[in-house]
Symmetry: C2
Subunit: 225 residues, 2 copies
DNA sequence: CCTTTTTTGTTGGAATTACAACAGCAATAT
DNA sequence: ATATTGCTGTTGTAATTCCAACAAAAAAGG
């Protein structure tokens, strides 16, 4: 367990904790690491989930098969990140498969132990709960933003809403985005070339200006040609 | 506060608690109800949020204005439901406005008090934390499912994924959905009539059968005409 | 510097979708 | 029974989007 301290200390769940604090809380949680081979399944769709996982080494894929057997990968969980926390906290049944994309070491934690302050001896449990809730809440906010974008009917509206949100987040009409064109198209779930065309139109209409990842919203009425 | 006990007891956050337990925990949280008039704002975009809200009476709308002043309502929060919990837990800045659609009474709770077990005298704080996390986790799971649907490029794929998921959730090839056609179209963010046409095609191809809200997935290869 | 690779913009045709308008049907009310 | 209302399916047209292929520009590597 010793050698995992650096990973844990920089993880979303345990961030900000010292080695001493980590020792105390890991003892309190009675969490044990477990090794998995590449392509080995951690759990399957429909399994009852009571533990969350934290990737100590390697990488985990969350995947799904629909009724007709078509497979999709829904997320890749890397070192220091947690998974299955929502399934363990709420529905207790997983709608997804989890398998290791590489040889991996996973730390499993009973969700009840994570969320219940056990004894006064473990003084860092409150911090853990705060971190855990912050992770859930942040995912929530990001997903809400994504849904807002995906709900727009046209590519133009998806772009305008996305850019408007970025501008508001960075509190400036000029801002940079964390995507290249292909990534932005994937995020908005549209065709890259069609999106590129819409960006060009918006620039020609004087609504936005851009250079690579830097965008600027110009104070133009949307209806103006 | 007395008269709000029935509402609280059936709320997502405090469900399952007796009046005695509620008294203890409300005392522990030092939560105070506050009245708002119709159309009165609770907070604005960009405000720093440290408290979550619970609607005791009335109704709250979460809304947003984009860069060009176009307004949209993102959610309606009704009696017994909570809001602003994610903003208070993570980013601390609200990307949304909250205002009352009717005269309302809101119970505000400091998020730190909700998440930190204060003293041993309040034995139900652990239950509260579990409930709180369950609410966040459930929203998370629902949003993931919605994103999966919205990400599909064609109406046909949106329908197939949605129906496949419902079938898997209800563990049966035959199942009912909680939407009528217009609501389903809104959920999938497509045009109702176009969706209706796609449903007809899928039925003609022998892939699905349906009558009103009852659907059945027939064991047909997707590529079959 | 030149070559290779990656990213971005552009085009045209095929497919899909939105939109509007209307008809059929069921449920409800008068 | 009749009228009203709401829900669903159908149709045709216009607009949008996807897709594939290619060109231009930028970045990376030798």
């Amino acid at each position: 367990m010793q050698n995992f301290f650096p990973i844990l200390a920089s993880s979303t769940l345990f961030k900000g904790m010292t080695e001493e604090e980590l020792k105390a809380i890991l003892n309190c949680l009675k969490a044990v690491p477990k090794n998995f081979s590449k392509d080995e399944y951690i759990f399957h769709m429909g399994d009852t989930i009571k533990q969350m996982g934290l990737v100590l080494t390697g990488s985990v894929h969350l995947s799904k098969e629909d009724y007709w057997g078509r497979k999709t990968i829904h997320a890749e969980i890397g070192q220091g990140d947690i998974f299955a926390e929502s399934f363990a906290s709420a529905v207790h049944k997983s709608p997804l498969n989890a398998y290791c994309a590489k040889n991996s070491t996973i730390l499993f934690m009973d969700i009840r132990k994570v969320l219940s302050v056990c004894s006064s001896s473990c003084s860092f449990h409150n911090t853990l709960i705060h971190n855990f809730v912050a992770v859930l809440a942040e995912k929530n906010i990001k997903m809400s933003a994504k849904i807002e974008n995906l709900t727009q009917k046209t590519t133009k509206d998806k772009l305008l809403i996305y850019l408007s949100n970025q501008s508001q987040l960075q509190q400036s009409a000029k801002f940079t985005i964390p995507f290249n064109r292909q990534e932005l198209a994937d995020y908005l779930s549209v065709d890259r070339s069609a999106m590129s065309m819409e960006l060009g139109k918006l620039r020609d209409q004087g609504i936005i200006a851009y250079d690579k990842n830097t965008f600027e919203i110009l104070n133009k009425n949307l209806t103006t040609g």
